[in-house]
Amino acid sequence: MERRAFLELLAATPLASAGRAEPVADRPPPPHYRVVTRFAPAAAPGMPGPFPARVIRTRARRNAAAAEEVVEPGVVREMMERGMRALTGESTTLAAWRRFFEPNDVVGIKVNAGGRPYCVTSPVIVAEIVRQLTTVGVRPSQIVVYERFYNQLAEVDYAPQLPEGVLITAAERGNRSSEQRDYDPGTYVEAQFFGEEDTRSNMMRLVTERVTKIVNVPNMKDHGATGVTGCLKNIAYGSFSNVARTHARGVTHTLSAVGTLAAVEPLRSRTVLQVMDGLNAVWHGGPFAPTRRYLFHPRQILFGTDPVAIDRLLLDTIDDKRKAEGAISIWDRSLSSLRFDNGAARDADPNVNILIREPGHVEYAGRLGLGEWELAKIRVEEIEV
């Protein structure tokens, strides 16, 4: 039986803003979203999961003998093990992973390869996740590393780090808007943003038909539309088709679209674990990282089941770095900073926006029930390795 849900959006959501005196951009009214899915939510959906408002942040100490961006695989493994144990309260790493996964699960690992070559989900972290899943009893053939675009995955080349049998796949060969066969025609969000004719964004068949659980492994990145791209953006825009249509001519609807997509079943229920790769990060020009110019190295990995809480911390991480670099805030809505559709100007100048960013998408997702937005309510446990 098909279940349909109609989301009426929060038209007058109070969202934080910079409050500058100069002319600022108005926020466009949100569109009407129609969600079509045949899937009912799990009894306890994966987002926000069993640990709402809880984030474990593991940090790698600097090795004076190594470059700033280098975190040894052994250190990454320890960060992963201690992070998972701290999140779950289990005494062993195996028990921690067993809280989320069973041997018969088919597990998707949603990586982020869009920031290739310099800021992508670390192959070392992906390899460690796969190792832990196999320790739980999940066979390599039941593990799928995925992205939307295969050309991005191919550039990162995860295969050498992974055991034979792990599937590395994508829904489209590249970002060409012509391949829909690996999206589910019966699971979609319908909305019109800017008068486009193709008003549907369909969920990947991999999510609806194959995997039973998903580990979401985003990076810490600035983003020209959403302010930052973390857990929410990675799982939402990385699992649906036809999402670039949400921004045009300096305006973006990501404020409401990111959370709306992330909340669609079965994506919401099946995304059970968030592992944010903050070993390397991008403070401007994201989600891309074609050069080292805007890279920085937080040397962190964050763990949780609440994507909103983790992304709330990410907002400050990116914005603090931008302030330290003398760049405008991700909350800046001044029209004087806007050079819409001018990626070259944005790449050259960290005080240029190509869209009025919507970092409020994190709060919005919180209001949809995906997690905890209020910083005071988020419990962060820090671990140094």
Binding site: S178, E179, Q180, G195, E196, E197, D198, R200, N202
Partner: protein, 312 residues
């Protein structure tokens, strides 16, 4: 069958090459063609049904731009909603006109498909390198089940013959808003658009895309007979009656579209799909819901035809 009857259904090749290329034409399955007047005799001696494209014949034909995606970064996004040069609206506006077109390299099959979908009388000059593709398209058209059906429309456009009304038709077609050109306001369709009327002042025609969007909103997406999902570069022509529909799908993108989703309002049963360069295929994931039939096409090259019959 006479040439006059054939041109009513199939586009015909204009070929200015000498008869030394006759074997190439035969390999492409082309035996009827237009040629320069001075070559008529030699082509007829070579066994072809050749007609002279005289200067009078040329001047009596409407010259068209070749179809395809155009680089118009100022007006359209290259990846999301590209600018399309299409001729379907012209064929609809002047269905009895005769047309002449020089297809740019790689677009012969697309140009022929546009004309065939609209039953247009087209003489098509092509790049010689596209001869096999054109021949393949013509053979495909000939092999299709016969279907002489009227156009299906959701709105009427009163055609005053102006450039502005033509541009509006162009943009309506770009959005797959099914329209019927009429000479005067007429009943029977949910919407009648007449530029210069109170509802559609001529000033609005200055931005025909915005006007087309307004008309779309007035019509309402749920009431549209046809919707396409999964591509912004496929334009459709829908013909039919109470018992059957023929949907022509023309892909201007230059690369295959995989998994195009089609929604046709009404009580229809999934039918046959004929895909140019791919052959006959079955529709995928058909579903009837909310008073419409939905299905996917596994793959769409330059052109495909979908035949639907009324659901029992």
């Amino acid at each position: 069958m006479s040439l006059a009857l054939l041109v009513a259904v199939l586009p015909l090749l204009y070929w200015d090459q000498p008869t030394a290329t006759a074997a190439d034409l035969r390999r492409a399955g082309i035996e009827r063609l237009w040629v320069p007047p001075e070559r008529v005799a030699e082509w007829r001696r070579a066994g072809f049904d050749a007609s002279p494209l005289t200067s009078n014949e040329r001047s009596g034909r409407v010259t068209l731009k070749p179809p395809g995606i155009a680089a118009r970064g100022d007006w359209a996004s290259a990846t999301q909603r590209p600018w399309i040069d299409a001729n379907g609206w012209r064929y609809q506006r002047q269905p009895r006109a005769r047309y002449l077109e020089t297809a740019s390299r790689g677009t012969a099959a697309l140009a022929a498909s546009e004309a065939f979908a609209h039953d247009a009388d087209l003489v098509l000059a092509i790049d010689p390198g596209d001869l096999d593709k054109l021949g393949q398209a013509l053979a495909f058209f000939r092999a299709l089940p016969e279907a002489s059906l009227p156009g299906v429309a959701d709105l009427a456009v009163v055609d005053d013959g102006s450039f502005a009304t033509g541009e509006l038709m162009n943009l309506l077609a770009r959005r797959n808003l099914l329209f019927r050109p009429v000479s005067r306001p007429t009943a029977g369709l949910p919407l009648v658009v007449e530029l210069g009327s109170q509802a559609y002042p001529k000033s609005e025609a200055a931005n025909p895309d915005a006007l087309a969007l307004k008309i779309r909103a007035q019509l309402g997406d749920e009431r549209r007979t046809l919707r396409l999902f999964g591509s912004e570069v496929v334009l459709a022509r829908l013909t039919g009656d109470a018992g059957r529909l023929r949907l022509h799908l023309i892909n201007y993108g230059g690369r295959d579209v995989e998994g195009l989703r089609v929604r046709v309002r009404g009580q229809w049963a999934p039918g046959e799909v004929h895909v140019l360069q791919r052959g006959r295929r079955a529709v995928e994931a058909p579903i009837v819901q909310d008073g419409a039939l939905e299905f996917s096409l596994p793959v769409l090259g330059p052109y495909a035809v979908v035949d639907l019959v009324a659901a029992p």
